[in-house]
Symmetry: C2
Subunit: 157 residues, 2 copies
DNA sequence: GGGCGGCTACTCGGATATATTCTGTCCGAGTGATAATGG
DNA sequence: CCATTATCACTCGGACAGAATATATCCGAGTAGCCGCCC
């Protein structure tokens, strides 16, 4: 079970975008320079966030990405599931119904117990990430961070 | 984030082994037949469980795998982490220290906030799985299951 | 009949190919600002 | 000086290769039981 590296990228990018003034944008190139990431691949990974309605993208000069809604309304889970998919890492393939030990269908009306427990664990994980919004993250940062982020992210110097 | 298919296999195999009489063993071939799985690959996936001390393997005729300790002392987390590794799915690569936005080292004494939240979520996941032992799983099964499992798993007919 | 030795068949364990997914790169369509131009 | 218009640089978006991991397979080393043989 391994999350793609891009998960870290988009989480940091979303946090940075949350520090911009309302309406301001940052391009994929700017974000890539800010974190020293491959620009094209980063842009590719930001696309699913746009499709998921987490980010909004505007083209043309002075265009780029911005949050699609307020930082308090975007959770880490939204970001992670947008880029990595919302499906559970454990996929029950009903092997209890295969082979010599195959259970009769009438015994499989209830979900596989193991799958249920794995789903519980996944729900706990989702609950933990769903309880943290981007605004919560910013709240734990020193107060001088956003100004610095804006300057280094969108500034030219 | 996707768990290997073999995770399902070893969880079910461990649960089945927990239903055997104490000291009894089941070979990889028997388990593979029981669930209709590729025998060689299943054996390969059971190996890390032996290394982790969850299962014990005995060679030779009438050999095979058995639980290394009591079912109540083996959690689903033990099984999952044995086969999939215990490392967190999110790996912080400290991109906050790279690129134009690189934070000075003295600001990075505290762990990356995003990584901390991801670690919290992973801890919640581990806590959920760690709270369920194989004995707990057996406790939720109908009482006639273990006898049937023993018969179909180790029987010849 | 009992003990011993060799043999055999069965087990796990590790080394070796193939498929799928993640990572990285490129180029094209679209858009908004910009600057020249004419009134 | 202002409105208009054509240009152009910059943006995202999707199509195309390379690398890492998961999946599947095979063969070899080791061992426990078993059978025959000897005492």
């Amino acid at each position: 079970m391994k999350l793609p590296v891009s998960t870290e990228w988009v989480l940091h990018c979303a946090t940075s975008l949350a520090q911009l003034e309302p309406g301001a944008t940052a391009s994929a190139a700017q974000l890539a320079r800010y974190y020293d990431l491959p620009q094209a691949y980063l842009a590719k990974q930001l696309q699913p966030l746009v499709k998921a309605g987490v980010l909004a993208a505007t083209t043309g000069p002075r265009g780029g990405f911005r949050l699609a809604r307020q930082a308090a309304e975007i959770t880490m889970l939204d970001v992670v599931e947008a880029v990595d998919g919302a499906s559970s890492p454990y996929e029950c393939r009903e092997i209890r119904q295969q082979g010599r030990g195959a259970l009769p269908p009438e015994e499989c009306r209830t979900p596989c117990l193991i799958a249920a427990k794995m789903a519980d664990a996944h729900a706990a994980w989702r609950g933990s990430l769903g309880g943290v919004s981007l605004a919560d993250l910013l709240g734990e940062l020193p107060s001088w961070v956003p100004r610095r982020t804006r300057q280094r992210l969108t500034g030219t110097g």
